[in-house]
C-alpha cells in the first residue's frame, strides 16, 4: 500500500468514526430546537390589554379626547382640517384652532395634495426636482394639545396599560379610568394630573358624574363614588362579582350591571340599593345600562339576550327578551322607539322597544364581531366590526348603504360623530357618556359636514364621511404624531 493510499484510508476511517455516534444526538437536538422554534412562533408573547376607549368631545366642541396609543390619551384639536389655499397667504389663525398656517407649505414651495398625501414620500417635484425636503407637507395635520402620560422620563414611568372607557370631561377636568386600576383626573387645558384614585382591580368601563360626584365601576366588583374635585372616596357599593359595564345615572339612581347577572339600582347619594328594584339573569351583564326616552332600561350580556326593564322595579317589559346570536357587549343606540344593537357574532339588529320584536326582516351580518356601539349619522347607521370593516346601513330595513370601508385595523372602540361645518364642532349627545344616553334623531345631526372618528387599536385615528364611507382627511387612518 502506498503512503498516499494509506493516508486516504486513515482519512476515511476518521470520517466514519466522526460520523458514527453523535448522528442520533444531532437529530434529537435539532428536533428539540425546531419544536421550540415552532412553539415560540406559535405563542409569541402574552396578550396584553390594548384598550378600546372611544373619543369624547369637550363641551365647547373644540377638543377631542382620544387614545392615541396603548395607555395614552391626548387632547386633539377638533378642527382636524388644516389651513389651505388663501388661508396660507397670511399669518393669521384663520380656522380658529390656535395655530397659524398649520399644514401650509413653506413659502415659495409647492405642497403635496390628494394621493400624494397617501405615501410617505417627497412627491412635490418642481420640474422633476424635489423643491423641498418635506414629506406630506401641506397635508392635514392633527394638532395635539397635550398627551397623558407625557413623553417625558417621569411620564414614561406611568403605565396605564390600556384605556377602555371613554374619558369624560366635567368642568375643567378630564377623568380617565385605566386598566392599571386608577382613575386619573387631568387638567383639561394642560393635561397635568390633579389627583389619582386607586381601585382594587382593572377599570374597563367609562364613568358617570352627577352633582360633583364621580361614579366609577371596577372589575374588583365595586362601585365607587368619588369627590370629583379632590378624588376622595365618598362611598362604595360592593357586588359579589366583577363589573365590566359603565354605570348609568338616571335621576337620583345609579344603575350598575355586574357579571353576576344582577342589575343594581342604587341611590346616587347614599349608594344603598333602591327598594323594590330587582333584576337578575343567569349570565354576566356586559352592556352599559341604557335608558331609552320611552322609559325603558336596556341591559344585555353573555346569555345572548337583550332585556327591557322598568327602571323603577326592574320588571321585564317584554314578554320575552330579544335574543341575538352571541354576547351583547356594544351599547345599543336608541332612536325613538327603536334600539339598534350588535352582537359579538357581527349581527346588527333593529329592535322595536315596545315589544322587543325585530324591525328588520333579517339582521345585517358584518364580517367579524362587533364590540363598537352603532352610530347614527344623518339617517345612516354606521357600524364597525372588529376587523375594521365599516358599514353604512339604512335604518329602515338594515340594507347596506355603503361599505365595507376597510380600515385595515382592529376596531373595538365606539365610533364618534364630529360636526365639521361650524367653527365649533358638536357631538351627537349619545357619544358623551355623561350626557343623556338616548339622543333624539335631530340631535344626531345631518351627515353633511359631519365625520365619523374611529380610534383603532394601536391609536390610529380613522376619519370617515358617514354619507358614503369615504375618507374625510387625506388618508383614511393615520397615527397621531406627537
Amino acid at each position: 500500500m502506498t503512503g498516499r493510499a494509506s493516508t486516504d484510508r486513515r482519512r476515511k476511517i476518521i470520517q466514519l468514526k466522526g460520523h458514527r455516534g453523535p448522528r442520533r444526538a444531532h437529530w434529537s437536538a435539532f428536533a428539540v430546537l425546531v419544536a421550540f422554534a415552532l412553539f415560540a412562533a406559535a405563542c409569541g408573547r402574552i396578550a396584553s390589554p390594548q384598550g378600546w376607549a372611544g373619543p369624547t368631545l369637550s363641551p365647547d366642541g373644540k377638543t377631542v379626547y382620544a387614545t392615541i396609543e396603548r395607555g395614552k390619551i391626548a387632547a386633539l384639536d377638533a378642527n382636524m382640517a388644516p389651513e389651505t389655499g388663501a388661508q396660507c397667504d397670511n399669518n393669521v389663525d384663520d380656522d380658529g384652532d390656535g395655530y397659524v398656517n398649520e399644514g401650509c407649505p413653506q413659502a415659495g414651495q409647492k405642497s403635496e395634495q390628494g394621493a400624494q398625501c397617501l405615501n410617505n414620500t417627497n412627491d412635490d417635484l418642481n420640474n422633476g426636482v424635489p423643491d423641498d425636503n418635506l414629506v406630506n407637507d401641506g397635508c392635514p395635520a392633527i394638532i395635539v394639545h397635550w398627551v397623558f402620560p407625557p413623553n417625558t422620563d417621569e411620564g414614561n414611568k406611568l403605565k396605564l396599560e390600556g384605556i377602555y372607557g371613554a374619558p369624560i370631561r366635567v368642568g375643567d377636568v378630564v377623568y380617565v379610568g385605566a386598566y392599571d386600576g386608577n382613575v386619573y383626573a387631568l387638567d383639561a387645558a394642560a393635561g397635568t394630573p390633579l389627583w389619582r384614585f386607586e381601585t382594587g382591580d382593572a377599570i374597563v368601563s367609562s364613568m358617570a358624574s352627577k352633582d360633583g360626584t364621580l361614579f366609577v365601576t371596577s372589575t374588583d366588583g365595586r362601585l365607587y363614588a368619588l369627590d370629583a374635585a379632590t378624588g376622595t372616596e365618598r362611598g362604595r357599593f360592593e357586588t359579589n362579582s366583577s363589573i365590566w359595564a359603565s354605570p348609568t345615572v338616571v335621576g337620583d339612581v345609579v344603575y350598575v350591571a355586574a357579571m353576576d347577572g344582577k342589575l343594581y339600582a342604587l341611590d346616587a347619594a347614599t349608594l344603598t340599593p333602591v327598594s323594590d328594584f330587582s333584576f337578575k339573569t343567569d349570565a354576566g351583564l356586559l352592556m352599559d345600562p341604557t335608558l331609552a326616552a320611552s322609559g325603558t332600561l336596556l341591559v344585555g350580556g353573555i346569555d345572548h339576550k337583550l332585556y327591557a326593564l322598568d327602571p323603577k322595579t326592574g320588571k321585564q317589559l317584554w314578554s320575552k327578551p330579544f335574543e341575538g346570536g352571541n354576547w351583547f357587549w356594544a351599547k345599543p343606540l336608541v332612536n325613538g322607539d327603536t334600539a339598534y344593537l350588535a352582537d359579538l357574532n357581527g349581527n346588527v339588529y333593529a329592535v322595536n322597544l315596545k315589544d322587543g320584536t325585530p324591525r328588520w326582516n333579517k339582521p345585517f351580518q358584518t364580517s367579524d364581531s362587533v364590540r363598537a356601539a352603532p352610530l347614527l349619522a344623518g339617517g345612516t347607521l354606521v357600524v364597525v366590526d372588529r376587523s375594521g370593516n365599516a358599514y353604512g346601513l339604512k335604518t329602515e330595513d338594515g340594507s347596506r348603504q355603503w361599505g365595507p370601508t376597510l380600515l385595515g385595523k382592529t376596531v373595538l372602540s365606539d365610533p364618534f360623530l364630529l360636526q365639521t361645518t361650524s367653527a365649533s364642532p358638536t357631538p351627537a349627545p349619545s357619544e358623551s357618556p355623561a350626557a343623556s344616553p338616548s339622543p333624539s334623531p335631530a340631535a344626531t345631526g345631518a351627515a353633511g359636514g359631519a365625520e365619523v372618528l374611529i380610534v383603532a387599536q394601536g391609536g390610529d385615528l380613522c376619519r370617515l364621511n358617514p354619507a358614503d364611507g369615504s375618507p374625510t382627511g387625506a388618508v383614511l387612518c393615520s397615527q397621531v404624531q406627537t
Binding site: I13, G21, A25, V32, A40, A47, P49, W52, A283, L412
Partner: protein
C-alpha cells in the same frame, strides 16, 4: 433466566406490537392533515383543538367549583391518562435503549461499514423493541397540547378584555358554559392569565423538567453524545424556565402537573432507583463505556440471549449479526428495590 418479556417485544404472531400503535398514530395524523386541508389551517386548528379545549376547560372549571387552577390540573391529568399508552411506550423504548447500550457499542465497534452498521442497529432496535416513533409521539402530543393550551388560556383567562371578546367566538352556546364566564384567574399565589413574577412557578417548572429528563435519559454511547445529553439536560429546563417567565401562569401549572405525572409514570416503569439522587445528579454515562461502580448499582433491565444454545455465546452471531435479545424487566420497582436490599 428469561422471566418477563418486554411489552414492546414482538407479539406471538410475529408482528411487532408497536405496529398497531403506529397504524393508529398515522391514522390520526392523516385524519388531522386531511381536515386541515379541507377546512383550512386556521379553521381546522380552531375547530379541532382550540374550541374543544376551551370548552373542556370551562366545563372542568364548573366541575371544580370555579377554581380554574384546579381545572387545569384536572385537565392535564385526564389528558396524560388518555395518552398513557404512548407515554409508557416511550419510557419503555428509552429503557430498552438504555439496556441495549452494550450491544449498540458492540455493533459500532464491529461494523465499520455504515450501511451494514445501520442494518445491524435497525435489527437491534427491532429486537429490543425500541421505536423512534414511539418516543416522538408523546413529545408531539405534549408540544401540540402545550401550544393549544397556551392559545386557549389566552382566551379563557386571557388577562385582557380583548381576550374575552375572543372567547365569545369559541364558547359553545350551552348556557352552563356561558354562565361560567368570566373565570376566576386566581389560584394559590398565581394569576393564571399573567406571568408569575415571583419566579416560584418557573423554578418549579425548570426543576421538575430537569428531574423528568434525567430520569428518562438514554445513556450516551460515547463521550461526545454524553456531553450533548448533559447539555440538553440543562438546556431544556432553562428554556422552559424562561418560557414560563413570559407565559401565563396557567401554562406553567399545566407543565408542572404534566412533569409530575411523567415522574410517576417513570417510577412505574423504571423503579425507585431512577429517581435516586445519584441518577439525577451524575452525568448519564454509557454503561459499557464507563462501567463504574455507580453504573453497576444503577438498575438496568437485563438483556439476555433468547434460546441460545450456550450461555457463554458471543455477543454477536458468527455471521456478524447481533443475536436476538429479550429484555428482562422486574415487575415492580419497589419490590425490586427490596430484593436488592436483601442482597
Amino acid at each position: 433466566m428469561t422471566r418477563v418479556a418486554a411489552p414492546s417485544a414482538p407479539s406471538p404472531s410475529g408482528r411487532p406490537r408497536g405496529s398497531r400503535g403506529n397504524a393508529l398514530m398515522f391514522g390520526i395524523i392523516g385524519l388531522v392533515v386531511i381536515l386541515f386541508i379541507v377546512l383550512g389551517p386556521g379553521t381546522a386548528w380552531d375547530t379541532l383543538f382550540i374550541t374543544p379545549l376551551i370548552n373542556a376547560l370551562v366545563f372542568l372549571d364548573i366541575i371544580v367549583f370555579g377554581q380554574f387552577g384546579l381545572a387545569i390540573i384536572l385537565f392535564t391529568l385526564l389528558l396524560r391518562m388518555a395518552t398513557i399508552p404512548f407515554t409508557i411506550r416511550q419510557l419503555e423504548s428509552t429503557r430498552a435503549m438504555q439496556a441495549a447500550q452494550p450491544q449498540i457499542q458492540e455493533i459500532q465497534k464491529k461494523h465499520k461499514d455504515p450501511k451494514r452498521r445501520q442494518e445491524e442497529m435497525m435489527k437491534l432496535y427491532k429486537e429490543v423493541g425500541f421505536n423512534p416513533l414511539g418516543c416522538a409521539m408523546p413529545l408531539v402530543i405534549q408540544m401540540g397540547v402545550f401550544i393549544a393550551l397556551y392559545r386557549a388560556l389566552r382566551f379563557v383567562v386571557g388577562g385582557s378584555p380583548e381576550s374575552l371578546v375572543g372567547l365569545s367566538q369559541h364558547l359553545y352556546n350551552i348556557p352552563m358554559l356561558q354562565n361560567a364566564i368570566p373565570l376566576d384567574q386566581h389560584f394559590l399565589w398565581l394569576t393564571l392569565g399573567k406571568q408569575d413574577v415571583t419566579f416560584i412557578l418557573p423554578l418549579i417548572v425548570g426543576v421538575s423538567t430537569y428531574i423528568q429528563q434525567k430520569m428518562s435519559m438514554t445513556p450516551g454511547a460515547n463521550p461526545q453524545q454524553q456531553q450533548q445529553q448533559q447539555m440538553m439536560a440543562w438546556m431544556m429546563p432553562m428554556m422552559l424556565f424562561f418560557l414560563t417567565l413570559n407565559l401565563p401562569s396557567g401554562v406553567g401549572v399545566y407543565w408542572v402537573t404534566s412533569n409530575v405525572f411523567q415522574l410517576f409514570a417513570g417510577y412505574y416503569v423504571y423503579g425507585r432507583r431512577a429517581l435516586s439522587w445519584r441518577q439525577l445528579l451524575l452525568p448519564s454515562a454509557a454503561p459499557a463505556a464507563n462501567p463504574g461502580p455507580s453504573a453497576k448499582r444503577r438498575e438496568q433491565p437485563k438483556i439476555t440471549q433468547t434460546k441460545q444454545p450456550e450461555e457463554s455465546a458471543p455477543a454477536t452471531a458468527p455471521d456478524g449479526a447481533t443475536p436476538p435479545l429479550t429484555i428482562v424487566r422486574p415487575r415492580h420497582g419497589k419490590r425490586r428495590g427490596k430484593r436488592k436490599n436483601r442482597r
